[in-house]
């Protein structure tokens, strides 16, 4: 089974303090000073795919769009068994361009890299578009299962997929090809490779592709344009109670608003 996992390297936004959320020219936010990480939903997609490959033979490719800062992460993924690791050299602002991203991935799959399964997180931490897997399914003419929380092989060309639906879960046995959008999958932290496999991975190289921008990508279209970006402020009174120990703090919280609020519920 050929599996393509698409992942994005994003800044750890929780490391930014309230005062860091400043909008610069062209609606940019400087997040360059915080650490980067694999987008959390994509991390789950990578780990769930590794579990699939643990149980059944699978050729795992990973694809990302970005600059050289993605290389340490791609090296880790090579050490975990993703081969090849592919990076499309990014130019320009792709935060709010899921249509272009889906078109790039579709072009990769259709240009001599056939896949049975494409897996990715449901949305990225910065763009929050939540559209790329859905648009990819439309571009490829494949079905798409969203909010996937687990999958396993179910015989030749078949997959057993567990996903969340509104007010419940759904378990389906489906025929491939398929696009999977991974949602909140509990216990899916990406495993850590051994030192030996990391050293071996260091000798291999990422396949770096130049993107064909704009109309050169089949199906590319810029759908919406960013007009304004503003920080969401959630500041409240933040009145702090004091007390010598936990009991005193609880007493103070209870008397300082909580008791009255409970009576009014």
């Amino acid at each position: 089974m050929n599996v393509l996992v698409c992942c994005k390297i994003v800044p750890d936004l929780d490391r930014l303090s309230e005062s860091d959320w400043l909008v610069q020219d062209h609606g940019q936010v400087d997040t360059g000073f915080v650490r980067t990480m694999v987008n959390p939903y994509d991390e789950s997609a990578l780990e769930l795919t590794l579990r699939l490959a643990d149980a059944a033979p699978a050729r795992m490719t990973t694809l990302t769009l970005g600059g050289g800062q993605a290389e340490p992460f791609l090296k880790t993924l090579r050490a975990l068994g993703f081969d090849p690791t592919v990076r499309i050299e990014a130019q320009g602002d792709w935060r709010f361009c899921p249509d272009g991203l889906a078109a790039l991935i579709a072009a990769y799959v259709q240009a001599g890299h056939p896949q049975d399964l494409v897996v990715m997180g449901r949305q990225s931490a910065d763009g929050d578009n939540g559209k790329t897997p859905l648009l990819l399914a439309e571009a490829l003419g494949w079905p798409c299962i969203t909010e996937c929380i687990g999958f396993e092989a179910a015989g030749p060309g078949r997959l057993k997929v567990t996903s969340r639906v509104d007010a419940g879960r759904q378990i389906q046995v489906v025929r491939l090809p398929l696009v999977l959008a991974v949602g909140n999958a509990a216990g899916s932290t990406l495993r850590v490779p051994t030192l030996k496999s990391r050293m071996q991975a260091g000798r291999q190289r990422t396949e770096v592709l130049e993107p064909a921008l704009g109309p050169a990508i089949p199906g590319f279209r810029q759908d919406y344009v960013l007009e304004r970006l503003t920080a969401i402020r959630r500041r409240r009174a933040g009145r702090m109670v004091t007390g010598a120990d936990g009991c005193a703090l609880a007493q103070a919280l209870y008397q300082d608003g909580l008791k009255q609020r409970l009576e009014n519920l």
Partner: protein, 317 residues
């Protein structure tokens, strides 16, 4: 502008969908006579009562079950007849996937997580949260039809005498599952509704420290009559069930009171509790952002304080 409100009657929360979309339609100035509700349902007769959405006409479509590819085909089939420039969905799991894929199929533009929008001639401006809830973006959408998934705002119910749709068309589009689906088993999740509609919530963050302490906090919630909620890291560690998730990818309730224990206050989590009327926060770290985003807070061990709070609440001291 002609508009279509798509409601998923297979999800079982039709009244809440009607409430939120109805409230939004009231604020956008779209005319009732230009609106059509498309209600998908999988029930046995008698057919469901039309929800109170301010549209003049309605199409009630009976399906075998909610299957996105089949529902998309139905909406695509109906599109020429409806001739709409705007499709509105609730921003739930079904609404998001339908909005995005229908937008592509109709050659229009889609956007998920929309908080508000306004029409300027043939152009639509929409606002939504980005950067995991840290920022709000305004986008210009130029090419219709516009397919928007609208974030639930927990609006008030429409008055009981609100006129429902008058022109009603019933379609039967039941069919076997698509050929790529070999089997499908649905496992309902009865507890989900409790958190979304709760008036009192006790929410746990990673400061709870371990699975046992998280379980104890869930017990305390039950003892004091609160719904138990949790941040994404807590549920991803399987310290709490996924249906307890609060935040961008979970429940977005509007409780009267929310006690947050051991959560630092990441934006993704705050998006889930920011509509609380009153927030009490307990955290060990006095620098935690949550202590600036609460109404009243305390610095200390969350479980120690909660045990005492629970005693005070039980005794009504």
């Amino acid at each position: 502008m002609k508009h279509v409100v798509v409601m998923n009657g297979c999800a079982g929360d039709l009244a809440a969908q009607a409430r939120d979309l109805g409230d939004l339609l009231g604020r956008t100035g779209l005319r009732r006579q230009d609106g059509t509700t498309v209600l998908l349902h999988a029930g046995e007769p008698p057919l469901p009562r039309m929800p109170q959405v301010p549209t003049a006409s309605a199409v009630r479509v009976r399906v075998s079950r909610y299957q996105p590819e089949q529902v998309l085909d139905i909406l695509e089939e109906l599109a020429p007849r409806l001739g709409a420039g705007l499709y509105l969905f609730v921003d739930d799991l079904a609404g998001r996937e339908l909005a995005v894929r229908l937008g592509r199929r109709l050659g229009g533009t889609s956007l998920t997580g929309v908080r508000a929008f306004d029409l300027d001639g043939e152009t639509l401006h929409a606002r939504k949260a980005v950067y995991s809830g840290h920022m709000e973006a305004t986008f210009r959408l130029g090419r219709g039809p516009f397919c928007l998934a609208i974030v639930r705002a927990g609006a008030a119910l429409l008055p009981a005498d609100h006129p429902g749709p008058v022109a009603l068309l019933d379609l039967d589009r039941r069919q076997p599952p698509p050929d790529w689906v070999e089997s499908c088993e649905c496992l309902p999740d009865p507890a989900t509704a409790g958190l979304e509609d709760a008036s009192f919530i006790l929410a746990a963050g990673m400061g709870v420290q371990d699975r046992n302490r998280a379980a104890r906090m869930a017990e305390i919630a039950q003892e004091i009559g609160a719904e138990f909620g949790a941040s994404r890291p807590v549920v991803m560690n399987a310290w709490a069930p996924m249906d307890r998730l609060l935040g961008i990818s979970g429940a977005l309730p509007r409780p009267g009171l929310c006690i947050v224990a051991g959560a630092s206050g990441s934006a993704a989590f705050m998006a889930g509790i920011e509509q609380s009327q009153f927030i009490v926060a307990i955290n060990k770290d006095e620098q935690a952002p949550i202590l600036r985003c609460c109404d009243v807070g305390a610095v200390g061990d969350c479980l120690e304080i909660l045990e005492e709070l629970a005693r005070l609440i039980r005794e009504g001291a």
